[in-house]
C-alpha cells in the first residue's frame, strides 16, 4: 500500500480550482447574508434592500446543504454581514460544518469585544476593503465620513485577536496614490494585501461603478496591469490561450444571494436556482452552469481573433453590461489590453479599421491585429453560427440597452447593527442579542 501520509501542497487557489474542475462543482461558495450595508461605495455593484434575507434557521439549512454538496470554503459577505445581529451564530454553524470561513466586511462595526468573539469562532481569514491610505479618499469612496478611522480600528481589533486579515484594495480613480499606499498600510497593520484592477457594473446593468474606475494608465502605473507584448512565437502563445478558461465562472465558485438565489458569479445576472427552495445539488445540475463551465477563450468572439488576447483580462459580465454581449469584446477590457501593450512597447498607434470591418467600427473595441511594433489595426469581429446558436439557446447572454440609476445615499440608521426593518421573512432579526443588537453606543 502507498504511504498514508503522502500529501501535496498547492497554492490554495490552484488546489481549489483543480478540485472544482475534477468535481464539476465548486469548492467555494460566496454567501451573501445581508441585503443591506452601512456604506454606499461609489463602485459597489450591489442593489440592496430588494432581495430580502434568509432567516437564521434557513441559513443553517442552506449551510448544511452546501456542506453536503462538498463545498469547502465559504465566503460570508453582504451587503455588510456584521449588520446581522446573528452573524456569529451563522459563522459558528458554518465552522461546525467544517467550512473554511472567510468573512468579508468593512470592519466599521468591529470593536474589540466583537473581534474577540470572531476570533473564538475560528475564521480562516477576514477580508476588509480599504480604498486609500488617505482617510478622506477612502471616505469619499464609501460616502461615510469617518469610515476610514473606524475601518482601521476594526482591523487593529481583528489583529489583536489573532485573526488573519487580508486588506483588499479595489482600485478607483479617487485614490491619488493607488494601491501602493494601501499596501504600505496593510503591512503596517500586519495584514495581507490584495489589490484589484476590475470594477464591474451594478446588478441591474448600470455602469455607474465604472465612472470611478481607475484608468488603464493608472493601473499600469500602480503595477496592477503589467506590460505585455507577444512572445516570439505569438501564434503558439495564442493557440494555448484559446484553450483555457477566461475566468472561473461556473467552475471555481458560486454566489448565494441573501434570498437564497444562486448566481454563477457576483456579476453575472443569471439566477440558476434557489438553494433554499431546490437545494444545491439541483442547482448544480443547471444547464446554464454546464455551459459556463465549458467556456474557453475560443468561445469569445472578437477576443479569439485579437492579437492582444494575451493581454486581455476581460470579465464576461461587464462585457454583457457594457458591450451587450457576454461573450463579446468591450471597451474597458480592450482599453486595458492596449495599455499593457503600450507599456511594453513605449507608444501605440491605433490605425484605421481594416476595410472589411463593419461601417462605423469603434476603434476603441477589438479585435486588433498587430501591424508592426506599436501599431494595431481593428479587424472584423466575426461571429460564427456556433455563437449565434449559443445566443439562441441562452438568450440572456445578449441584452438590449443598459439601465442607469442614481447613486444611493446612506441613512444614519443603516450605520447600526440591528434588526432588519420590515422583516417579511421572519427570524433574521431579534430585538436583542448578546453582541449588543442595535445599540447606538457601538458607534
Amino acid at each position: 500500500m502507498s504511504a498514508a501520509t503522502e500529501g501535496r501542497y498547492h497554492s490554495g487557489r490552484a488546489l481549489v480550482q483543480a478540485l472544482s474542475a475534477r468535481r464539476g462543482a465548486p469548492v467555494s461558495v460566496h454567501l451573501q447574508v445581508a441585503d443591506r450595508c452601512n456604506h454606499a461605495c461609489q463602485h459597489c455593484y450591489q442593489i440592496q434592500g430588494l432581495k430580502g434575507e434568509l432567516s437564521l434557521d434557513d441559513l443553517r439549512r442552506v449551510l448544511d446543504d452546501i456542506a453536503d454538496a462538498g463545498v469547502l470554503t465559504l465566503n460570508v459577505s453582504g451587503g455588510e454581514a456584521t449588520l446581522r445581529h446573528d452573524l456569529l451564530e451563522i459563522l459558528s454553524h458554518a465552522r461546525g460544518r467544517g467550512f473554511a470561513v472567510r468573512l468579508y466586511t468593512n470592519a466599521f462595526l468591529i470593536d474589540d469585544a466583537y473581534a474577540a468573539r470572531l476570533g473564538a469562532v475560528g475564521l480562516y481569514e477576514v477580508h476588509v476593503s480599504v480604498y486609500s491610505a488617505v482617510g478622506a479618499e477612502h471616505d469619499a469612496v464609501t460616502r461615510v465620513p469617518g469610515s476610514f478611522i473606524k475601518t482601521v480600528a476594526g482591523i487593529r481589533a481583528l489583529r489583536r485577536h489573532g485573526l488573519r486579515v487580508i486588506v483588499k484594495n479595489p482600485q478607483t480613480s479617487l485614490s491619488a496614490e493607488g494601491a501602493a499606499g494601501v499596501a504600505r498600510l496593510a503591512k503596517m497593520l500586519d495584514c495581507g494585501f490584495r489589490a484589484g484592477a476590475t470594477l464591474t457594473a451594478m446588478e441591474d446593468g448600470s455602469l455607474a461603478p465604472l465612472a470611478v474606475a481607475a484608468s488603464p494608465e493608472q493601473l499600469v502605473a500602480s503595477g496592477l496591469l503589467a506590460p505585455w507584448s507577444p512572445s516570439a512565437d505569438a501564434e503558439r502563445e495564442r493557440a494555448g490561450r484559446l484553450e483555457v478558461h477566461p475566468c472561473g465562472v461556473g467552475r471555481s465558485g458560486l454566489v448565494v444571494l441573501p434570498d437564497g438565489e444562486v448566481l454563477p458569479c457576483t456579476d453575472t445576472p443569471l439566477r440558476v436556482g434557489n438553494v433554499r427552495a431546490e437545494g444545491m445539488a439541483a442547482v448544480l445540475r443547471s444547464e446554464e452552469l454546464a455551459m459556463l463551465r465549458q467556456v474557453s477563450w475560443a468561445d469569445v468572439h472578437g477576443c479569439r481573433d485579437c492579437d492582444l488576447v494575451g493581454a486581455c483580462q476581460r470579465c464576461h459580465a461587464t462585457a454583457l453590461h457594457q458591450g451587450g454581449d457576454y461573450f463579446g469584446p468591450y471597451a474597458t477590457a480592450c482599453g486595458q489590453a492596449r495599455a499593457r501593450y503600450r507599456a511594453a512597447v513605449g507608444s501605440l498607434d491605433v490605425l484605421p479599421p481594416r476595410a472589411d470591418c463593419e461601417p462605423g467600427r469603434d476603434p476603441a473595441i477589438g479585435p486588433y491585429v498587430i501591424e508592426g511594433h506599436g501599431k494595431i489595426r481593428p479587424t472584423p469581429d466575426v461571429r460564427t453560427a456556433g455563437d449565434e446558436a449559443r445566443a439562441l439557446r441562452h438568450p440572456w447572454i445578449r441584452k438590449a440597452a443598459p439601465l442607469e440609476i442614481s447613486a444611493p445615499v446612506v441613512p444614519v440608521s443603516r450605520l447600526l447593527r440591528g434588526p432588519r426593518r420590515g422583516d417579511g421573512m421572519g427570524g433574521t432579526a431579534r430585538a436583542s442579542s448578546e453582541d449588543g443588537g442595535a445599540s447606538p453606543e457601538r458607534l
Partner: protein, 92 residues
C-alpha cells in the same frame, strides 16, 4: 504513541472529501493539504479514535499486514500532528 493514544482532528481545520481524496485547510498555516486515498480513509476516522482502532480499520479495509498498517498509522499521525492538523491524547 501507543495503541490507546486517542487521535482527534484539530479544531482549526476545514476539510472535505473530494471524490476519493480529502482536502484539508489548515487555518494557522494558511495551507491546503490534499491527502491520498489511504490518508483520507484514516483522516475521516480521526474523531477521537485510538491508534489501535485506526490500525484495525486500515487492516479491515486494505490488504495490508499488521506491521505495515501500524507503521503507516504512526507516520500519518506524527506527520499531521506535526503540522497542527491532528491532536493526540495519551490514554489515562
Amino acid at each position: 504513541m501507543t495503541p490507546t493514544t486517542r487521535v482527534q482532528r484539530a479544531r482549526d481545520t476545514a476539510w472535505r472529501r473530494v471524490e476519493d481524496e480529502v482536502a484539508i485547510i489548515s487555518m494557522d498555516a494558511n495551507r491546503i493539504r490534499l491527502l491520498n486515498r489511504v490518508g483520507s480513509f484514516l483522516w475521516e476516522r480521526c474523531d477521537n479514535a485510538t491508534v489501535g482502532e485506526l490500525v484495525d480499520a486500515l487492516c479491515a479495509r486494505y490488504d495490508v499486514d499488521l506491521d505495515t498498517a501500524r507503521r503507516d498509522v504512526d507516520t500519518f499521525v506524527e506527520d499531521l500532528r506535526g503540522r497542527g492538523l491532528l491532536t493526540t491524547e495519551a490514554a489515562p
